[in-house]
């Protein structure tokens, strides 16, 4: 059978064997939490607690500002010990709330379960927003925004993303194996909120057990389980939609423009928690893996846990790390140290050794066209990068630089080790800056 997929893409070794067989473990509470107020795309939340105040688990500690924003909650019960700038995985230090756990780990009494059957669509979306649910695949875009499309954009196809195409990461995979009911409850809620006619759960073919399990659970329901070809970036939103529906999201448009919506499996689970149990998003599954960690694990971590604590829980370092990466190896962000907290978008912590890092300087482009063939958006990465490098923003824009999804396929295949994605990103920033400056 020919599996569904998209055009272009690459086949990096998946390296999931480090952690794919490890059941999800609950990560013990650290001595201190650092909960950043900016964890999602959109306006950061503002602190609404005071230093010295006692907070209950799940209590709002940062309130949302604006529509594309969500509140932040206390990951455990304890005392607010500081509100200050702390190192953040995005780069610069950002405001964060420090909480010292009291060890009781008691839920706030205000959080009440509810019967989804009694709730209106708007109530459900509001519950998701108040629970601070964001896209957990890595982009951390507030989920309630994606759940409330404008009335003229009817979502017909809801796609649940269980692809996890990033090498090394197994968090979603373990979620699917261990908590299919929770995920499917979320899927059903998402479907009723969006009013989608068709629900597709897309899983890469390298996870046959997850596919079999979901097929078993979905038997007798209207949910389709689609097995997708193993290829990176199969889990990218636009590529997943193309593979499942055969339609392409228009350039510069959104999935809802062609009647589709994509939510990650973990997001679906978080939506179920938010609506049914009234629980905010304060924990997630994170894969701690890589050749430099002693014992790779899939951990259920509280948001705001420092990376150093995760390393400790996983038996410490096996070797001196060469790169600390938050997220997967294709799209993750390198970190300066372990003193940054995990956030809602932290799907993995990958530790590479010194010898895993390729410090080769870039060479001249030999126009081998590997990048052109690998690009899932069908761009000409080398041409865009060449323009971007010379600050020829108009030309870079003409070659559709803004359509780049920064998946990293071009840099991965480049035999001359040219940092194509970084250069294109640089060009995109220049294009945006130019647009801002010339109204």
């Amino acid at each position: 059978m020919k599996l569904k997929t998209f055009a272009g893409g690459i086949h990096p070794p998946d390296n999931k064997q480090w952690s794919s067989h490890k059941a999800i473990e609950n990560c013990p509470l650290p001595a201190e939490f650092v909960v950043p107020l900016a964890q999602h795309i959109g306006a950061p939340s503002t602190a609404c607690v005071d230093i010295g105040q006692h907070v209950a688990k799940g209590q709002v500690i940062g309130s949302a500002k604006g529509f594309v924003s969500v509140p932040v909650h206390a990951p455990t019960s304890g005392e607010v010990v500081a509100i200050e700038y702390r190192p953040h995985s995005w780069g610069p230090a950002l405001p964060a709330i420090m909480i010292k756990p009291d060890g009781e780990d008691l839920w706030s009494t205000e959080l009440q379960p509810s019967d989804p059957g009694q709730l209106s669509t708007d109530d459900m979306i509001e519950k998701v927003r108040l629970a601070g649910v964001v896209g957990m695949g890595g982009a951390a875009f507030p989920a309630h925004v994606k759940m409330s499309p404008p009335p003229e954009k009817q979502v017909r196809t809801l796609i649940i993303n269980g692809v996890e195409c990033e090498p090394y990461l197994t968090a979603d995979y373990r979620m699917m194996l261990e908590e299919p009911e929770r995920i499917l409850r979320g899927v059903a809620l998402l479907q009723s909120v969006l009013g989608a006619e068709r629900v597709v759960i897309g899983i890469e073919a390298n996870k046959p057990d997850a596919i079999a399990l979901f097929e078993k659970h979905c038997a007798g329901t209207a949910f389709e389980v689609v097995s997708l070809q193993v290829k990176y970036p199969q889990g990218a939103e636009k590529q997943l939609i193309a593979a499942v529906t055969g339609k392409q999201v228009p350039s510069g448009g959104l999935p809802m423009d062609i009647g589709a919506a994509v939510h990650n499996v973990s997001t679906a689970a978080a939506v179920a928690d938010a609506i049914v149990r009234g629980r905010p998003l304060i924990e997630r599954v994170c894969t701690v893996t890589g050749p430099a960690i002693r014992e790779p694990k899939n951990l259920r971590i509280r948001i705001g846990t420092l990376l150093s604590h995760l390393v400790e829980v996983c038996g410490g370092l096996a070797e001196e790390p060469g790169k600390i990466i938050l997220g997967g190896p294709m799209m993750g962000f390198t970190q300066l140290g372990f003193n940054v907290p995990a956030t809602k978008g932290t799907s993995g912590l990958l530790l590479l050794r010194m010898q895993d890092v390729d410090p080769r300087p870039e060479g001249p482009c030999i126009r081998c066209a590997r990048c052109v063939q690998a690009c899932p958006i069908k761009l000409m990465p080398t041409t865009i990068a060449a323009y971007a490098r010379r600050n020829l923003t108009a030309e870079a824009a003409e070659y559709c630089a803004m359509d780049c999804i920064e998946c990293g396929s071009c840099s991965y295949v480049c035999p001359s080790a040219i940092p194509l994605v970084q250069t294109i990103r640089y060009g995109k920033a220049a294009i945006l800056a130019k647009k801002r400056n010339s109204p």
Binding site: I10, G253, C368, D403, Y412, P415
Partner: protein, 330 residues
Amino acid sequence: MKQLYLSSSPHIHSGETTTGVMRAVLYSLLPACGVAVYFFGPSALSVLLIATLGCLASEAVCQRLMGQPVTLGDGSAAITGVLLALNLPPSSPWWLTLLGAVIAIAIGKQVYGGLGSNPFNPALVARVVLLISFPVQMTTWSAPAPLGSGLDLVTTATPLGEWKNAVMLTGQLPAEMQGSMTNFFIGNMPGCIGEVSALALLLGAAYLFYRRILTWHIPTAFVGTVVLLSGLFWLIDPAKYPNPVFHLLTGGLILGAFYMATDMVTSPVSISGMLLFGAGCGFLTVLIRLFGGYPEGVSFAILLMNAATPLIDRYARPRTFGTVRQGRTQ
């Protein structure tokens, strides 16, 4: 603790390097070199050595003169050398070969800024300069004298040259052509060192296909166009025009289609561009062979299409995901 590496994503790499690509291309040329040495003996070997060493030396000298790091290790100069040798007659005098090597690297490559910046295939630039400047030496062909056969190299004409002469003189195909299609296929015919054996060249190309260094687009379009066009003329007048298989196996078509036209630096990057490029090469080759003054047109055809590559790259862009036509939103 040692300092960490920080970089933009992605953090893993396919492991393929420019040097690796170049090395694979060199390996793939070994069968053709072997066959050449078998049929043409030590003279072919000396041309190969002089061209390769000449190119390496020119590259080193040029880069030293321009104050750039010397990058002989990347293998690109060696490839140019081998390809140049394969495009020369086995009887080329040493000075001709050496001059070719210097032209290829200095004028064909380094003046444009070195690897990746040259608009024309360096080996072909050298071949064409030599062909125009030294027509006698460049068209003095030897009949093959396989090693151990005890034969001496005898001056003769290439099959294409033989045909062209006959057509020029009589307007007809020669009554009796030397050599059979089988001989043409394995390379038992007069010609450039590397162009004679289609078998050896295809063997090397198969390796490149396997390593995914070569894609099918340019060779298929090139060869396909040649077969179609020459077939058309053959059907019109079989008494004057040779059949497509003859076109395919003689002259530098296979060498050109699989090694020279596919030179990454000087060919387009998009798939539609590659197909267009290959077809253009095929069209011009047939045009020159059938109606031009030279019996052989592959080199000129490729160089002309090299010149068109930037234009092709500009217009034959892949259709961006989510757009209907180039750059236009759905």
